[in-house]
C-alpha cells in the first residue's frame, strides 16, 4: 500500500516536472523569437503608413519611392574605393 502511494507521488512529481519544463521551454522560445525579430527600419514604418489606406496616404508611398530612387542614384554615383 505504502509502495503504491510512493509510486503515485513519484509519478505526479515527474509529470509536474515535465509540464514545468515544457512551459519554461515555450516561454524561452517565445522570448527568443521576439528578440530575433529585427526592428523595423524607418522606411518600413513609413511604408506601412502608405499602406494604411488613410485618405491621401498614397502620396507617402510615392514620395518614398522617389526618395529611395534618388538615394539609389546618389549611391551609384559614389566612386568605389
Amino acid at each position: 500500500m505504502a509502495s503504491t502511494d510512493l509510486k503515485r507521488t513519484l509519478l505526479i512529481g515527474i509529470t509536474a516536472g515535465i509540464v514545468a519544463g515544457v512551459v519554461v521551454a515555450l516561454a524561452c522560445s517565445k522570448k527568443s523569437d521576439e528578440a530575433s525579430k529585427p526592428p523595423l527600419t524607418q522606411a518600413q514604418r513609413d511604408s506601412a503608413i502608405a499602406a494604411s489606406k488613410l485618405p491621401g496616404a498614397g502620396v507617402v508611398g510615392r514620395a518614398l519611392e522617389v526618395a529611395d530612387s534618388a538615394e539609389a542614384r546618389s549611391n551609384k554615383s559614389i566612386p568605389e574605393p
Binding site: 506601412a48 503608413i49 489606406k53 488613410l54 485618405p55 491621401g56 496616404a57 502620396v59 507617402v60 514620395a63
Partner: protein, 212 residues
C-alpha cells in the same frame, strides 16, 4: 440617394461599396476608368464616368482624392456640377514627402485647414469633413470591440451636416458635430494621430471615440 464619388482609390471604393450596400445609386468619377474595372466587376450596381459625370449624377458627392489634387479635381468636375451640393470631404493635406519617423507631413498649417481652403475657393459648395481620420477598412460598418466609434464632422452648412450625419449613422458611426469649417484645423490632424499606433505596432484597426 444618388451618390457621386470623385476618386478611384481605396477610399473611393470602400465608400462606394458601403453606399451600394444601403441601396444608394453610385457613380465613381475618375480620369482612368480602367482602375475601377475589377471593382465594377464585383459591384454590379456601380457606374464609372469622368469627374464631371460623377458630379453631375450625385445629389451628395464624396471627395476621395489626394489632398493636393482636391481643388483641381473639383475644377475638372466643373464647378456648375458641384455648386450647391453636399460634398463629403475625406481628404487630408498630406505633403508629397516621406513622413518624419512615422509622423505625416502636412502642406497646411495649424491655423488653416485644407477644407477651409476648398470652402473659400468653392464658396457655393456645402463641404462637410468626414472619414478623413480612419483607414478605408473601417469606413463602412466598423466592428470594433469598443463599440461604434465616433466620426468628428464639421462644416458651415447645418443641413449638409444633417445629411452626412444620416449617412454616417447608416455606416455605423456615432457622430460629433464640431462646428464650422474652422474645426477642420483640429479634425484633419487626427489622421496623423491615427497613424501612430500603426507606426508603433503595425495595427491599423482602430478609430476614435468620444466618451463622456
Amino acid at each position: 440617394m444618388k451618390i457621386g464619388i470623385l476618386g478611384s482609390g481605396d477610399v473611393a471604393k470602400a465608400l462606394a461599396a458601403g453606399f451600394l450596400q444601403h441601396g444608394h445609386a453610385v457613380t465613381l468619377g475618375t480620369r482612368d476608368p480602367s482602375k475601377l474595372s475589377a471593382f465594377t466587376a464585383q459591384n454590379k450596381g456601380a457606374r464609372v464616368g469622368s469627374f464631371g459625370d460623377a458630379a453631375l449624377f450625385g445629389e451628395v458627392l464624396v471627395l476621395a482624392v489626394k489632398g493636393s489634387a482636391a481643388a483641381d479635381v473639383i475644377r475638372d468636375a466643373d464647378e456648375d456640377n458641384v455648386e450647391g451640393k453636399v460634398v463629403i470631404d475625406t481628404t487630408n493635406p498630406i505633403a508629397d514627402a516621406p513622413p518624419s519617423n512615422g509622423v505625416l507631413e502636412y502642406f497646411t498649417h495649424g491655423n488653416e485647414s485644407l477644407m477651409e481652403r476648398l470652402q473659400r475657393e468653392f464658396s457655393g459648395v456645402r463641404f462637410v469633413k468626414a472619414f478623413s481620420c480612419v483607414g478605408s477598412a473601417l469606413m463602412a460598418h466598423p466592428k470594433l470591440p469598443g463599440g461604434p466609434p465616433t466620426m468628428f464632422i464639421c462644416g458651415d452648412d447645418g443641413d449638409a451636416k444633417k445629411t452626412v450625419g444620416g449617412i454616417l449613422d447608416q455606416f455605423g458611426w456615432d457622430v460629433e458635430d464640431m462646428g464650422g469649417a474652422e474645426a477642420a484645423r483640429a479634425i484633419e490632424p487626427l489622421a496623423m494621430l491615427w497613424c501612430i499606433p500603426g507606426f508603433l505596432r503595425n495595427d491599423w484597426m482602430h478609430a476614435f471615440k468620444m466618451l463622456r
